[in-house]
Amino acid sequence: MSIFADRNTRLVVQGITGREGSFHARQMLEYGTALVSGVTPGKGGQTFEGKVPVFNTVAEAVKATGANASVIYVPPMGAAAAIIEAADAGIPLVVCITEGIPVLHMSRTMPFVRANGLRLIGPNCPGLITPGAKAKIGIIPGNICSPGRVGLVSRSGTLTYEVVNHLTRNGIGQSTCVGIGGDPIIGTNFIDCLAAFQADPETDAIVMIGEIGGTDEQNAAAFVMEKVTKPVVGFIAGQTAPKGRRMGHAGAIISGSSGTAEEKLAAFEAAGIGIMKRPLDVIELLKGKGIKGVKSKA
């Protein structure tokens, strides 16, 4: 078990013939992901890497290959439309990697996503990976991950890799790693992932990597206090960030006095979340909560 992606995942790649899409589709195939089809309008009938059929629409790909998850590598201006297409085709899990989608596009897209009841992860995220099921949806490097029982959720990309790398090197495997994205409007938030990890019998502890901006981490901390019985450790990036400046991620901005690292860390502390002062601290904190460097049999 794991969250969101598992052995039953059958993936379609939207934008599979593009530069980013084709590169990462190859990586996902190499990792062992069940990548069953691709979509690029106008390129239907082609075959990717000699084995993956390409379709003009997501609906065709679903019908022909039974895809039940989609990953989007479409450029920013068409990415929201790609999310809507996947939702309309009945795909229950959509992961949008694209960075740079106008926030208004996402604001208009979210009501449609909710009405169709699908899980959207991202946009502007590295996707997710379930090492035990060889299911990689997105761009998280497979070689730094290892199967195990710690769940990880993060707003970041490379910072996630840094932490996952520490875990793997110390023999602490992961059930699922999810990057939820650095944009102000995203489909899946910390609480969604915490709830899923709490319910997952194969996850023993949770690592949360947040950053400045917004109130998602504060809300998540309140949720941990009420609903999460598994140990949680957390990090907040941007403790030295100036106010009012967008720190790379569109969502990483302290507006006025809200969304600061101090505020989020205080919420973590109040919820009993183990606070990582630096990425490396994840190991000692997890050990302190009884998570030893033992790889799972998965």
Partner: protein, 379 residues
């Protein structure tokens, strides 16, 4: 992207929001002729991206055109919070009966544009929000449908009793929403929305922030960017497609990924150093990007040591290594560089660096401790 007040006024005027007469001037002579056209006492307002313009002496009254020229001459070229004033807005010093606040922001939690209105206007709305949140009425708008007429009326009734004023304000709400959507704004604000003694409703001051992600496909908005209102190194970084923010410390940081870049700054601080910047070279880092990044960082005389922190995923660490080698051949870097590389193609990257007598580390904590020490020795 922040717009100047005079630019925001233009966008609001385009959708028909009533405003006092006024125009922007770059010279005292221009200010004088605008003041003459308006007639009577005018206000001269510095156009900079900074709050507290009034306190800094950037907002002045002028009773006649000659005074307008004098005041404009004082304000033009003035420094407000490190930013030079290049333009002033000249508007009439109108008599005002009431002041309110009307704002529209893209709200993360509801994932919708949210109106905020308050009859406590003309002041710092954040302060109102923090101290007396009950004085602000909030209304999320579903962007699928837009602002309904009854919603606009509801907001207007928060501000006024007189029905003529209510109708005028409701129309302004609809127009503000229209301007917000048409310009891909993340914030559009009228502060204050005023009534005159004869009962008219007008926008006195305007603020608009455009979502940076709109600029890729909206060149008409991109031209509104004022490069001179930015830190020069930040403008240069933006042109080189680098995400860069200048800070006050002495440890230059070159990192791939925004989250790791923030965490790197934090770790520099953790080990007793002070970061000179935030810099994300992005996912697919060509050697060109590394060269540009080094140029921008070494231009800052406060930088005493530079740290590369690269976790190769999509980023190939050999690309970064090649960039570092190419940059140090192109120009002399007079401060020490500490390189941390790990991930995709790291063996090749180490080989490239060793080939020119440079070394690299694979551990982030070790690299940060080393660069902090070097910066302290160089300071």
């Amino acid at each position: 992207m922040n717009l100047h007040e005079y630019q925001a006024r233009t966008l609001l005027k385009t959708v028909g929001i009533p405003m006092f007469d006024g125009d922007v001037a770059s010279t005292p002579t221009e200010a004088e002729s605008i003041a003459r056209r308006i007639g009577g006492t005018v206000v001269i307002k510095a156009q900079v991206h900074s709050g507290g313009r009034g306190k800094a002496g950037g907002v002045k009254l002028a009773r006649n055109p000659a005074e307008a020229a004098d005041e404009a001459a004082q304000i033009l070229g003035m420094q407000i919070k490190g930013l030079t004033v290049h333009k002033v807005l000249v508007v009439p010093a109108a008599e005002i009966a009431t002041e309110s606040y009307v704002g529209l922001i893209m709200d993360r939690e509801t994932q919708r544009p949210v109106f905020m209105v308050s009859s406590a206007g003309g002041v710092d709305i954040e302060e109102v929000a923090a101290k007396t949140p009950e004085k602000i009425v909030r209304l999320p708008v579903d962007p699928t449908y837009g602002l309904f007429p009854h919603q606009a009326l509801k907001l207007a009734f928060v501000l006024y009793r007189d029905f003529a004023q209510v109708k005028a304000a409701a129309k302004i709400m609809e127009q503000l929403y229209q301007a917000f959507i048409a310009n891909g704004a993340s914030l559009a604000e009228i502060n204050p929305l005023v009534t005159t003694p004869d009962g008219k409703v007008l926008a006195l001051d305007a603020k608009i922030v455009i979502d940076d992600n709109e600029l890729y496909w909206r060149p008409d908005l991109g031209v509104l960017r004022d490069d001179s209102a930015e830190e020069p190194s930040e403008a240069a970084a933006r042109r080189a497609n680098l995400s860069f923010i200048k800070l006050d410390g002495n440890v230059g940081c070159v990192v791939n990924g925004a989250g790791l870049a923030m965490a790197t700054m934090d770790l520099v601080k953790y080990y007793g150093g002070d970061p000179a910047n935030f810099l994300d070279i992005g996912g697919s880092s060509s050697p060109e990007k590394v060269i540009n990044a080094l140029k921008i960082i070494t231009a800052d005389p406060h930088v005493k040591a530079i740290l590369f922190n690269i976790f190769g995923g999509i980023t190939r660490t050999d690309d970064v290594a090649n960039g570092i080698v190419a940059a140090t051949r192109q120009f002399k870097v007079s401060v020490p560089i500490v390189i941390r590389l790990t991930g995709t193609n790291e063996a090749e990257a180490f080989r490239i660096l060793n080939g020119v007598g440079m070394t690299a580390l694979s551990d982030m904590d070790e690299a940060v401790q080393r660069v902090v020490k070097l910066a302290q020795e160089g300071a």
